[in-house]
Amino acid sequence: MEFWVYFAAKPLFWLIVTLVVFMFASELNKRSGGTPLLHPVLVAMAIIISFLLVTDTRYETYFEGAQFIHFLLGPATVALAVPLFDHFERIKKMWLILLVACVTGAVTAIVSVLLVGLMFDLPEGVLLSLAPKSVTSPIAIGIVEKIGGFPSLAAGLVLITGAMGCLLAPLIFKLLRVKDDAVKGFTLGLAAHGFGTASAFEVSAVAGAFAGLAMGMTGLLTAFLLPVVISLMGFN
């Protein structure tokens, strides 16, 4: 037992667990034909959470190791500028339509999730954590800290939303007969942030660039719009 305690207390162990479990989850997803139901992030989360619960490990202990991966979200967000620049000419031509789509979509995301939540009588803390669910998690965490929800709950809900977006996207593109990769990417990035962006990159580089753009724009706009929308809807 002594060895286990010493070993588990080392941040390196949880870093390796995160990597190994994620690689396993990715392989599982590949073998199952890439279904978003077995999204590697959700599967990895479920396995790691179970493991932590079984070994009676606190999240803080796990995060001491996992923070090195978490940290890379920052530079990865900055890196989105590269695909954006690659397709800048096209974005410039479409800027107005992109802006209208983004504002409409971002407001729809906030209002619709709050309305359904209100129908179910969810407590205010949960509602406020749901509100930024379409925004990439670093931004969502920042927003929820400001408006008074539970930041780590919000981060998890954002990820579930992301997987749902990847799951629903093919259905919606078929329904509306969307053929343009730019529109596919933008829709995915707006509703499903980084998950949508990751799956858009699998469609094409153009889709990925527009998804990254939508993710950035939605994050920015939501940070400004959300406080206004929730006060209009009578919160706080």
């Binding site: 995160t18 479990v21 990865a76 890196a79 931004i139 998890g156 730019a182 980084g194």
Partner: protein, 130 residues
């Protein structure tokens, strides 16, 4: 490669400093992304080192979400109480959001000339192939 990583980190740092200085409610990395985009526009190309690191990071974007996602375990009690409502709210809202966004493109695409339709067209007239 190292140059590229340094460039990303510097943009992020400048972004964080801008947030501190101006108090805008936006995370530093997002402003860092805007800064890097501005730099690329000015120098008119992406240096190889920046491209190498960026593409490497973006290829593994999904992995980077795992540590934050595991944080859900802190709220297991609350989730077990409200899981159905939360799932329905997320599902309905995500569906509606994507539908509305794609529809906006479809509606606006009709009014905005040939630039939008150039890539095999986002506007499909009614009664096309099913």
């Amino acid at each position: 490669m190292l140059n590229g990583f340094l460039a990303l980190l510097l943009c992020q740092l400048l972004g964080e400093l801008l947030v501190l200085a101006t108090g805008v409610p936006v995370p530093g990395p997002v402003l860092g992304m805007v800064l890097l985009l501005l730099v690329l526009i000015v120098i008119k190309k992406t240096p190889d080192s920046v491209r190498l690191v960026s593409e490497g990071l973006l290829r593994h974007l999904a992995l980077l979400y795992v540590p934050a996602g595991v944080g859900l375990m802190v709220h297991l009690e609350m989730i077990s109480q409200y899981w159905l409502a939360i799932l329905v709210a997320l599902l309905v809202s995500t569906f509606v959001t994507m539908l509305v966004t794609a529809l906006v493109f479809r509606l606006l695409g009709k009014f905005s000339g040939p630039t939008k339709g150039e890539r095999s067209g986002l506007v499909r007239p009614q009664g096309g192939e099913r």
